[in-house]
């Protein structure tokens, strides 16, 4: 039997792919399918999931509710109305993910450029400095920002000193529990995931290309826009994918730094499962989040690719 297998190439292929396929099936396909099924159910009286429907309940209720159909939060007399609560949450998440990604690119590019141009010895040190925060727990790092942003926090203290020295009256800024705090936290958390791919693609650029550009009459600025930037785009693209997708779904940053004031789709899902105990609505929100992320990623990668050049080249 072993001998026959040795000659059968296609059976070998199937056998080799089997563990991965099985793995993917159990860990990805099955849970996704369960989520899909549950999203069509509804919460029973005692908190269980039922699939019993009647005149007032259809399998699509969760989705209809997500997109604004409401029977509870209406003016008196109205049987049903449009409630933008969840649409706003979805939109806010998308906008925040977009803003975070843009800010992260703007911050990460100069940093990556600086590291890539540093001398080899210093370069390793800078890379280490980028990586060290990742050794600490994600939640702890977000809490650190609470200490910085609080009304009595380090930032307010320092500004207070400066203001007192300048004799300007100063009331501590309310920074924590604002959308700005969430944005700062997000940018901080995801910066390394942009720096590293951009650094990799910059570092791969042959230095003689800079010399060639200069030789052909390009000043440093033109060299950057005509040579450096286009050649490092794969890194920006890869970084964007690495940042945008997790930002869309995260809930810890908005929970801690937003103080439950800034609700993102991630928070919505978490609360449906843990607080409201309505896994059916949570599942529907999860799937909508996934579809939204896929759509954005699809159009983005169709235009710019996956940044796979930095892996392959």
């Amino acid at each position: 039997m072993l001998k026959r297998l040795r000659e059968n190439k296609s059976a070998q292929g199937t056998l080799l792919a089997l563990p991965t396929t099985l793995w993917l099936f159990i860990l990805l396909v099955v849970p996704l399918f369960l989520t899909l099924v549950i999203s069509f159910g509804r919460r029973g009286i005692d908190g269980n999931v039922t699939f019993v429907f009647d005149q007032n309940h259809t399998p699509f209720d969760n989705y209809i509710r997500l997109f604004g159909y409401s029977v509870t939060n209406c003016h008196s007399g109205q049987a049903a109305c449009f409630d933008p609560l969840y649409v706003n949450i979805l939109w806010r998440s998308l906008a925040l993910a977009f803003n975070t990604t843009t800010l992260v690119i703007l911050l990460a590019y100069p940093l990556a450029y600086f590291i890539a141009r540093a001398r080899p010895k210093q370069r390793n040190m800078y890379l280490l400095m980028v990586l060290i925060p990742l050794w600490t727990n994600f939640v702890i790092r977000v809490y650190a920002w609470m200490i910085l942003l609080r009304k009595e926090g380090s930032i307010n203290i320092v500004i207070g000193w400066v203001m007192r020295w300048l004799n300007i009256p100063f009331t501590p800024l309310e920074m924590l529990y604002t959308p700005g705090a969430v944005l700062v936290g997000m940018v901080y958390e995801f910066l390394p995931f942009m720096i590293l791919p951009i650094y990799t693609s910059l570092e791969k650029i042959d230095p003689s290309l800079y010399e060639a550009a200069a030789d052909l009459g390009a000043n440093p600025l033109k060299t950057f826009f005509r040579v450096t930037l286009p050649l490092s785009m794969p890194g920006v693209v890869a970084g964007t994918i690495l940042v945008f997708i997790p930002v869309m779904g995260t809930f810890i940053v908005s929970d801690i730094l937003g103080g439950r004031q800034v609700i993102l789709v991630g928070n919505l899902i978490q609360r449906q499962f843990l607080d409201a105990r309505d896994p059916t609505f949570g599942s529907a929100a999860s799937l909508i989040l996934m579809i939204m992320t896929l759509i954005v990623t699809y159009f983005y990668t169709r235009k710019f690719g996956f940044g796979e050049e930095i892996v392959v080249a």
Binding site: D206, S208, A212, A213, D215, L216, A218, N219, R226, V227
Partner: protein, 371 residues
Amino acid sequence: MTSEFAVELRDVVKKFITPEGAELNAVDHVTMQIKNGEFFSMLGSSGCGKTTSLRMIAGFEWATEGEVYIEGKAMGRTPPFQRRVNTVFQNYALFQHLTVYENVAFGLEMERVGKDDIKRRAGQALEMVQLIGMDRRKPNQLSGGQQQRVALARALVKTPNVLLLDEPLGALDLKLRKEMQLELKALQQRLGITFIYVTHDQEEALTMSDRIAVMSKGKIQQIGVPVEVYERPANKFVADFIGESNFLAGRIESISENEASVFIQDLNAAVIGTPISDGLIKGEAVVVCIRPEKIRISEKGALNQKLFPGKVTNTIYIGADTHVFVDAFGAKLKVWEQNRVSRLDPKSFYMVGQEVWLALMPENTLVLKKD
């Protein structure tokens, strides 16, 4: 043109700090004048300072001491993009994200040449290097030779007065390299622009150059036309680096303007040679250099000041020539015999152990300073 020289290096020094912290003169007091329209080669092994010299002309490096002049103007710290020279890089340094056409057009766009002009001039440049029809490809879709041509077109489209070439043929296979050597030389003659060519390949330098600067350890060993460099090497290094040589250590017994008698310890006899190095004096320890193809070998002879007996220790047949190794009183000499007659009989070649006579003619026997 304001200056007789396209490029001039005056007493240029380039110091580098090695990783160990030591100071190193990569280019050590180099002075050279490159005339307009000249094909000038810098020849030497790696680390001799030839590429550093070229990079200082291009502006990628700045001289620690001395000055580089381009068309009579001192360059100082002028950046590369303000110098009217262009470079063909060793690894071509083509922009992989641009097409062949865009690569060639790049330099013109930087000069803010009009769109139509760019199109016309880039087209001409691509035609000149025979790359018509390749203009929409990316560099990585081309062969090494084609990439080399793109690099050439990209530099030449800027119509520089001086083109710098850093071992441009180094990555090509031998046959293509030989073709490109002749093509480059023809191109340079047609365009009439100055080429400064860096190579470690002595044959390439001899084939293409009007003049050659032989460099070693950051210093210029000799500058001259190819014939001079080969036939009248300035010192032992040049004689050794360019072509092959037999070196015999000796001491000058007597010397006049055209002739020197040198006592060779190994031969236990004196040979008559031509003094080459300046300032040779009687009694000085010198080396005598004889090119292997310039020793005449024969089966019969008689001992005199030009003829020496020896014994064949080895022969190697290499097609055009046969290399004969001869031991003459302990002095080991290599002699190249051209195979002028087609023959197969092994006995018609010199045999190992055979007694032969070597003729060392005074005009072929060069007396050089000991280093």
